[in-house]
Structure formats: structure tokens, C-alpha cells
Symmetry: C2
Subunit: 358 residues, 2 copies
């Protein structure tokens, strides 16, 4: 069977036969196949056993025919060898026993060798590349800011009080941590690509808590380093965040062949803000998947209509799939996206970086 290259083509803003679609967190608790495995194994147990991680990764590919697989893993896996004492408390999300608050805490972080310390991730990628003969595989990591926020707060946060207070009160500590994380995450992403990941996504899920000037001073250089390391390996790079409307031009400057958009900005407005020289991914509200089919279809079509058939759109949600999402609706969206025909009222033709409307 020939490789389905829609996704990789779209990352490079090349024309495709149909808009490619995949979902953030497409392997997860909303799928009965996943829940069956989760009954026997914890989240970390699945991650640690490459065969299980690979199996879970494949479940949505088989079930929905998405155009890309994304490795099943957690953005906090690289925090484990750093020695911050990560645990996933039942129903509570991640808890870190040794959060970082001082320069000594940063210095106490252990060196990480991605190939050895996170070798189970690379092994899952190698298994997946053997299994996935016709679907490309996406690797990923958290961006330095988003990973730092967990490491500083000691878990999930709503306000990011400790993170921002460190930025504003002890910038040397914050920069030291970000510098360390940029190195670790660059190595981790590079290792994933060398193990076989055909594209990577950098998740800066919580960066939208920041103002543009804080993003520029405290985040951009470190994200740039990670994104450049991946780019240097020659695969497409997706740069994702939520609540990022005012950050989009800076995120583009930080890097990425594809920029993720959430539902707060209409896809066409977001793309205009970014410019034509970058692809976009998004941006259905994950909660639209809970709507009846006609309403869901109207919302899927609205996103596609705004993308307007321009090369360089990857259909996705604006954030990860939620736990109680109806499985049938996920399958329905894949079909809606693949079957959609751009009516050509506003078809764009690319001539170099120039856009012509006809």
C-alpha cells in the first residue's frame, strides 16, 4: 500500500487530494479500545512499554482513518529523568514532588540522555514505523514554557502564579530552567526524529497566559531553539498553543512550518495574521464534537470554507479531544473533511509566495 502523504504534503503547503485530518489526543479515554487497555495499565505503564504505547497509538488510525498517527506519550515524560518526582495521582493530573523554585533546584536537575533515559519512546516509534506502512507518524514534545509551568507549579495550574512570579521576581532562575529545558527537549525531539518520527509537534499549550512582551522576553528564544533543532533534522515542524491570538506573529518568528490555531480566532483571520508563508492547523472547538451531526457538519464546513482550499491547511481541533467525546462523531468528522469539496468561489493559487484570488 502506498503512503498516504496528504498530511506531509500539507505541512509543506503543497496541493493535496483532500484536506488531511488528525486530532490532538486522538488516542485516549473516549475510545473503548483505549479504556480496555487502561483498565489493566496506568498511563505511565503504557508509555513505558513500547508495544502498548504503539498499540494505543494505532487504535485511532484503525478506527477513523486519520491522515497521521501521533505517538502516544505524555509531555511530562522528559521531566522524569530530570528528577522532579513526577506522579500521576488518580483523577488529579500530574503532581511533581520536587518542583523547581530556586537556582539550586535548577542546578540539581539531573542530566538527561534522551536515547537512554527515554529509550522506551524511541522504541515505540521504531515499532510504529514498522506497523504504519501507509500513515505518517508524528512525534512531539511540550514546549519549554509549558513544561516549565508544570515543573515550577508542581502540577497543573489555572493562573500560573508561581511561574509568572518567578519570571518577574527571579528571572535568572526562570531563564536557567528554560535554558536547561530547551536543551533537553531539543535532544528529545531530535532523538524521536532519528528513531523515525516523520513530523513533530511542539505543544505550548498554556503559553496563552502570557502577554506578547513576556512571550518575547521569556519564551521565544527557548522555543526557537527546540523548533530549530527539529527543523534541522529535515522534518515538518508544527508549533501549537491555545489562547494565542496576540502571540501568533511571535510564535511564527519562533518557528514552525505549521502553526496551530485554536477556535477563538477564525481560521482565515488567523492565517491572514500569520501570512501565506506558513501552513496552519486547526481549528474546530473540541466541544463541537458533542453536537448533533448537522450542527457538527456545519461547524466542520465552516472551518474548511475559511481554509478555502489553500494548500497548507491541516484539519484538527483547536485543542485535544475531550474525555467523553462520542466516538462516532470523531469518525464522522474524518469523513466530512475528506469528502468536502472546495467550491472554488475563492480558490487561491500560489505563485511563489504570492496569493492570487480569481
Amino acid at each position: 500500500m502506498e503512503m498516504n502523504s496528504r498530511f506531509l504534503q500539507a505541512c509543506q503547503r503543497k496541493p493535496v487530494d483532500a484536506t488531511p485530518v488528525w486530532f490532538m489526543r486522538q488516542a485516549g479515554r473516549y475510545m473503548p479500545e483505549y479504556r480496555a487497555i487502561r483498565e489493566k495499565y496506568s498511563l505511565l505503564e503504557i508509555c513505558y512499554q513500547p508495544e502498548l504505547a504503539a498499540e494505543v497509538t494505532l487504535q485511532p488510525v484503525r478506527a477513523f482513518g486519520v491522515d497521521a498517527a501521533i505517538l502516544f506519550a505524555d509531555i511530562l515524560l522528559p521531566a522524569i529523568p530530570l528528577g522532579v518526582g513526577l506522579e500521576f495521582a488518580k483523577g488529579e493530573g500530574p503532581v511533581l514532588q520536587n518542583p523547581v523554585r530556586t537556582l539550586d533546584d535548577v542546578r540539581a536537575l539531573r542530566p538527561v540522555n534522551a536515547e537512554s533515559d527515554l529509550g522506551y519512546v524511541m522504541e515505540a516509534i521504531r515499532i510504529l514505523r514498522r506497523e504504519l506502512t501507509d500513515t505518517p507518524l508524528i512525534g512531539f514534545c511540550g514546549a519549554p514554557f509549558t513544561v516549565a509551568s508544570y515543573i515550577i507549579e508542581g502540577g497543573s495550574s489555572r493562573e500560573f502564579l508561581k511561574t509568572k512570579t518567578m519570571m518577574y521576581s527571579a528571572p535568572d532562575v526562570f531563564h536557567a530552567l528554560m535554558d536547561k529545558l530547551a536543551d533537553v527537549l531539543s535532544d528529545y525531539l531530535t532523538a524521536q526524529i532519528r528513531a523515525g518520527a516523520q513530523a513533530v509537534q511542539v505543544f505550548d499549550s498554556w503559553v496563552g497566559a502570557l502577554s506578547p512582551s513576556d512571550y518575547e522576553a521569556f519564551v521565544l528564544p527557548y522555543s526557537q531553539k527546540v523548533l530549530a533543532a527539529a527543523k534541522n533534522e529535515g522534518v515538518p515542524v508544527i508549533h501549537f498553543g491555545t489562547n494565542t491570538t496576540t502571540l501568533l506573529p511571535l510564535m511564527k518568528r519562533a518557528g514552525g512550518d505549521v502553526i496551530g490555531l485554536d477556535w477563538r480566532i477564525p481560521l482565515d483571520d488567523g492565517w491572514s495574521l500569520l501570512g501565506d508563508d506558513v501552513a496552519v492547523q486547526g481549528n474546530l472547538d473540541p466541544i463541537a464534537l458533542f453536537a448533533p451531526l448537522p450542527e457538527l457538519k456545519a461547524r466542520v464546513h465552516d472551518v474548511l470554507r475559511r481554509a478555502d482550499g489553500r494548500p497548507g491547511h491541516i484539519f484538527n481541533l483547536g485543542h485535544g479531544i475531550l474525555q467523553h467525546t462520542p466516538v462516532d462523531n470523531v469518525k464522522a468528522v474524518v469523513d466530512m473533511v475528506h469528502e468536502y469539496v472546495h467550491t472554488g468561489t475563492q480558490v487561491h493559487r500560489y505563485t511563489g509566495t504570492q496569493v492570487t484570488r480569481r
Copy 2:
């Protein structure tokens, strides 16, 4: 003593001797005077006793010399006479025993007479107007969407899954609830103004979870009704939300003499997006108040520099004061704002609605 009218002047975009400043949630747990009262009374007990509510309202006016007092109350007070079973569980935020999920639930909501059912609020306002001889008093309510989100979810929420699912799957129920709330909140705000509130703020704190098209279809008409009812009483109206960058033009259309901005959008960019015919309020990150004074000052000055001395800026945070905020820093910000001298490099002169830069 003569009335300090900086705040009311700025709401009308009239020139002022110094930029007015007040803080959302300026009466609260970060103040020792407030904690002393909270040791003896619950949140609702304070609200129910007008003398206590008035006393708590006055605390930050006395302590910091802010340019406006804001009534101490909770945006969910009008939900109590609606019969949704509001409780404030210790450390858990609001919990509603009878959330609204169906059309029957909406129909079962009890009629509310603001003057009688929420008379304790009006009484607090009357006491405050006697006490506050030199500082204007702001009344407030939650906007229909933000209040609806609590009533549908049954409490606080991060994703607004039930709220949006109702929008997308049972729009008739959602519209019926919003219609009911728009009436109740219009009456409530009108009653506050008639009791003596000299300005009002409508808090749509969580509306930034929505896309612009959902805002327009499901929120705008109801916010418009509440804002117009207040406007009709002849006092300045502030329209506030967070995460609203893509919603700002629609929020302006919904109404308000002043639009609140959060820290995610630079104040000058937000004001440009809104246009010169409206005042703005904001937009320091509440977490900047945790910074050392020189850093805090730089951030306060950055906001003021972006406002550039244009008439119509009210200094505030981008969201409410956080619980552990250092009290001394709050006082320091009031002084920094009052002492700031616009250097006039880009002074704006208003000639009608026209702006001239010299």
C-alpha cells in the same frame, strides 16, 4: 470634601488631572481587614448584611485611596432567588444544587424582583453613598453568559463543556435561559443604579472561551440588553471580559462606554482595535503585583505609556486581584499611577471623535 471625579470623567473620555485607578476584586482576602471580618462571617453572610458589605467595600478605599469603590457582592447573588440552590462550599467556589439543563429547568426558575429579593444589595449601596462622600461607587453584575455558565455547569468550569454542548445541541434551552437572565440582570443593574451606583460594570469573565461567531449568535443580544438597560439609566457602563482579543469589536457592539482589556493584548493595540470612540480599562497582569517594586513599576509605566495620556483610560488589572497579593504593592500601584506624568511625546488631542497626533 469635593468629589473625586477622575474615574467618572475618564469613563466619558474627558481629560483628568491623573489617570484614575481601581482594582477588580479590590476588597478581598489579601487584605488583613477583610480577613478579620471573614473569620466571623461567610461570604454570603457579609453580602446579606448591608452594613458588613458596605464596611468591606470601604476597606480598600481607605487603605489605598483608589479612585472608585466597587460594591462588595458576588456575581451569583441573583442566582439565589432564581432557585438554583447556590452554596459556597469551603475552598471550592460556588456549587449549584439545581443546575439548568432542560427547558423545564428554565421554566422552573422563579421570578426575581431585584428590589425585594436582592434588597440587601440596594441597602448596601444606599449606606455606601452616605459614607462615600468623595469617591464614586461602582455597581456590577455578571453578564448573562458568565452567569449562565455557572447555572448550567453547576459551578466553576475550565472547558465549559455543558454550556457549549447546550448551545450546540439544545440552542432553544440556551436561548431561553439567556433571555431569562438578561431580564433578571437588567432589572438588578437598574435597581443598583436607582439605589445610587454612579457607574456599573458588567463582568463577562469567561466569555473568552467562545469563538466570535458563537459570541455573536449566543451572547451578544443578551449582553446588549443588559448594557442598554444600564445605559438608559444615564450612568457610565463598563463592559469587561478576559481572553477577549478576537471578541473586542463584538463586545463594543454589544455596548459599554468603557471596554475592559486583559494583559494578553497590549493596551494600545486593544484600544486601536476598539477605536477612539470608547474608553478602555486595564490592563496590568494581576501577577505583576507579586513582583519586586522596580519590576512592578516598569510594568505599570508600560501600561500608562501605551495609554499615552489619551482621555478615556482607567487603570486597572486585566482580571481580579489574587488572594495572596502583597497589600503594600497594591498601595504602591495606586501611587505610581497617580504620580505618573505623561511625557507628551505622543500626546493625543481629541477634536470630536477625531484624534490628532502632534
